[in-house]
Amino acid sequence: MLVPILKQGDYLIASVQSELSDEDLLKLRDELVKRVGELRSRGVIIDVTALYVMDSFATRTLRAIAHMIRLRGAETIIVGIQPEVAFTMVQLGLKLEGVMTALDLEEGLAYLQTLHTSKRR
């Protein structure tokens, strides 16, 4: 299942539509890291609302994506982690350290915006 990546102004939005295999995740990673440079984006939002399982590989890959994108000069926010998923992740010790999170797409966009306005000052 391919993850659509949308360009929204200065930001990229990757909206996960269904459960992802490990291979899909790696493809998403490669695609995002490539596009962020091509499109000169300043922020990336990964929307995982549709995911009901988040295993250690997915968590690790999301963290890797966030760190790679930071190296490419942009910020990443993971949005839409469901309550059940959050609870299971914490119990498994998967905390996504060093990665920004927000409730949903709207909050994520607002977060990026405040981040960039405060930087500009």
């Binding site: 982690i81 309550p83 059940e84 959050a86 609870f87 992740m89 914490v90 949903d104």
Partner: protein
Amino acid sequence: MNKEETKKPTPESSDALLRELVDHFREKREILRQQWVQLMMGKGLLAGLTQEEIETESITIYDTCIVCLETGEYEGAQAYATRMAERGVLRGMTTEQIIGGLLTLRDVYGRSLFERYQHDMERLSAALDIYEPVANKILSVVALAFVEEREKVVRQQQEAIRELSTPVLQFRDKLLILPIIGLIDSLRARQLTEQLLRAIRANRARVVVMDITGVPSVDSKVANHLVQTVDASRLMGATVVVTGVSPEIAQTLVTLGVDLSKMNTVGDLQGGIEVADQLLGYKVSRTEPPATGLITSKEKVP
């Protein structure tokens, strides 16, 4: 009912004797039952029951016991005991009353057997062999039903307390307050976290103030649960501010070596709310000098 045969009890003879016992108890039903009720009254076991209730209950119990003796099956007694336990517990009837009543009935049955067979010791002991295991079994069935009923009530109450004890309150737009009162165990911590996460999504909260003033003590398990709650909330995009950490709890947490570096702690609930307001960009200010004297809602409305 050949008297010679009872010397060596064979299956047929004990069957015959069983029939005889059942018939005997059925025949003497009124006399024995009245005797039983009188005895119970004498012991004060029927306090709080009306005459009518005594009549119907005693008839049912008497017949149920005979059915158990006749068939060797205790489902009837169990069902009745459970029903009785439900009513008994609800009306504050004591276990002593019920068990005492059954012990009295056991004595009444036993004495009537003595009277009937007092001139034939062999037959008496054979009759008691049949009757006593049944009587004991009935007692244990009833006692168990009672204990189970009590436990059920205790479980229900625990459940109710647990549900009542973890409210998640919306304090402002995007700000939730979670006051925790009482001891936290693993089950409650889990429920609390789930409830909080759902509330974060439903209220679109950005900041949660978790007040643990009402928590008397914590151990490493509970501390880890609190850390988990904070982490899970962060994954949902909400910051948690912990307030009301008592000196004892602070000491325990440090002694236990719980990693609190990521926990945002503030002294009391008021301070926590002030920090939350700052995070959310609220600025609370008073528009007027406070009214003198007693402030009523009427005065506030212009």
